[in-house]
């Protein structure tokens, strides 16, 4: 199988990190203490936990990304065979992309592409900072 080298690369990557950490473990000192092992927060006691519900913008961006990533997935087989399929396939794909572009225009217009929505603005009326 032509994928065997790929597997070997994966194993090699893991092995490399493992070997480096083992060597470091053997050579480096290991003297933990409670103060050293506190979380870094600029030299002061950490306040609150970072493990909380994070900004929702991230969620929206990932949703949009997923849609486009799936689209790109469809583009690859089409790209490989475009010359044989000819203009008909191009028109097909152009329609497909056009539909997605309408979607992009929609989220763009709603302001969902802005990383931070201006405070207090409701959906649909958002403008860029």
């Amino acid at each position: 199988m032509s994928f065997t080298p790929v597997l070997i690369f994966f194993l090699g990557g893991v092995g490399m990190v493992f070997a480096a950490l083992v060597v470091s473990r053997l050579l480096a000192p290991h003297r933990p203490n409670p103060l050293k092992n506190t979380t870094y927060e600029c030299g002061e006691e950490p306040v609150g936990s970072p493990w909380l519900r994070f900004n929702t913008r991230f969620y929206v961006i990932v949703l949009i990304f997923l849609i486009f990533d799936v689209e790109v997935l469809f583009l690859f087989p089409w790209a490989v065979n475009l010359r044989e399929l000819g203009l008909f396939a191009w028109v097909d794909m152009a329609i497909f992309i056009a539909i997605l572009m309408v979607g992009l225009a929609y989220v763009w217009g709603k302001g969902d592409l802005e990383w931070i929505r201006p405070r207090g603005s409701s959906a649909g009326s958002a403008k860029g900072r």
Binding site: E41, C42, G43, E44, P46, V47, G48, P50, L52, R53, F54, N55, T56, R57, Y59, V60, W115, I116, R119, S122, A123, G124
Partner: protein, 403 residues
């Protein structure tokens, strides 16, 4: 059916607020301060500021020392432009004493104040831009600052903590090659400033990062007690050098740059223009630099020459009378407020004398205190990344802020 705001909140749960302490041990919080932030995602929802990490008790120390000994503590106020602090303090004490320094001293004080201003602005711009990712500008600025430090070293042998002025004059006259050394550096400084200008001022990324960030409107800037480049960036043409002239600034031809927006970009531009104006003042002062003594010829103020101290009894007694505990300079009872235009704004010394050998009270008005106090106001509503240029633009100096 359109999705209303309420629906959206049902679909997308609201993010929680994250509490984050920025500083004291943080690369951008040099100075040192701590910002307590409440973050809503990438936006700053609320902020408070903790100061006092560099408190040394400046005012108390001054009270415990003689009038001349206090000068060394003024170095450590704004350690980037120490000579302006020296000058400011000495001007205040001289006003209490009612003495005028000789013209050569006045000109030299002007030259070194303006060079210090260039130094301070270079440092501020360097740090501010480095923190937004352009490290190269930082090193260009440091290179130029180094040339000024060489001049400072010529004057007093020290580089950062200069302790250069004395009540009634200067520590010593400058060496003979001083004017040429300064003249030679001015074109070099101009070249570096133009290099920075080319690299940064019209860079699109830089403008995007700095425009409309940390905006302080004109009226609010006035009511918050802003002075210096931050006030001028908000559109108020106030400069102590012109509005309450001290030394002999009224003799020089210089312009006061004024911004329009009061944002970080305008503060950067104001500083860039001011450096050029300072160099112009230095050039004019060098042309007019008179010969003569650098200290007042008053034996109750100025220390005698070392050759007199070691050579004759009058000199020795004079030295004794100025140095011995409880003796020395004794300004008449009274109080005085003297302001100078420091790189960050109005640096004022309010001094009360009771006729003793040390000040009864010395209060320093640090120019960056009102600016730092406005930090929360400027960063709330902005993004985390904007804190850095805003903080850089107010050029907070811990030594001066915490006193």
């Amino acid at each position: 059916m359109s999705i209303t705001t309420e629906h959206r909140e049902l679909i997308l749960p609201q993010a929680e607020t994250m509490l984050l302490g920025m500083g004291p041990s943080h690369p951008a919080m040099h100075g040192i301060i701590r910002l307590n932030l409440a973050l809503d995602g990438e936006r700053v929802a609320d902020a408070t500021i903790d100061i006092g990490f560099l408190h040394r008790g400046f005012e108390k120390m001054v009270e415990r020392h003689t009038w001349n000994q206090a000068i060394i503590y003024t170095d450590r106020l704004n350690y980037v432009s120490a000579m302006i602090n020296n000058v400011g303090y000495c001007l205040a004490v001289e006003r209490l004493l009612g003495v005028e320094t000789p013209p050569r001293c006045v000109y030299l004080r002007v030259i070194m104040s303006e060079l210090s201003r260039v130094m301070d602005h270079l440092t501020c711009i360097a740090a501010q831009i480095m923190e937004t990712g352009a490290m190269t500008v930082f090193l260009y600025c440091m290179k130029a600052r180094e040339w000024i430090y060489e001049v400072v070293e010529m004057c007093c042998g020290a580089r950062v903590t200069t302790n250069w002025t004395r009540v009634g004059g200067l520590m010593a006259d400058v060496p003979a090659d001083f004017p040429d050394a300064v003249r030679q550096r001015i074109p070099e400084l101009r070249f570096v400033i133009s290099e920075i200008d080319k690299l940064v001022t019209r860079n699109r990324i830089f403008i995007d990062r700095y425009r409309n960030v940390g905006v302080m409107p004109r009226d609010e800037a006035i009511s918050r007690g802003f002075t210096g480049p931050c006030l001028r960036a908000s559109g108020v043409p106030f400069d102590v050098r012109r509005d309450q002239p001290y030394l002999n600034y009224d003799e020089f031809d210089f312009e006061i740059p004024v911004g329009t927006n009061g944002d970080v970009y305008d503060r950067y531009l104001v500083r860039m223009f001011e450096m050029e104006q300072s160099l112009r003042i230095v050039e004019q002062a060098l042309d007019k630099l008179p010969e003569g003594p650098v200290s007042v010829e008053d034996k109750s103020i100025t220390l005698p020459d070392k050759k007199d101290v070691y050579g004759n009894i009058e000199g020795l007694i004079n030295q004794f009378k100025l140095i011995m505990n409880g003796h020395g300079i004794k300004p008449p009872p009274g109080e005085v407020y003297q302001a100078v235009e420091a790189p960050n704004g109005e640096l004022g010394f309010y001094i009360i004398s009771t006729g003793e050998a040390s000040p009864y009270k010395c209060r320093c008005r640090p120019p960056c205190l009102p600016l730092t106090a406005a930090m929360p106001r400027m960063i709330i509503g902005e993004m985390v990344a904007d804190i850095i240029p805003i903080f850089g633009s107010i050029n907070m100096i811990g030594g001066e802020l915490d006193g």
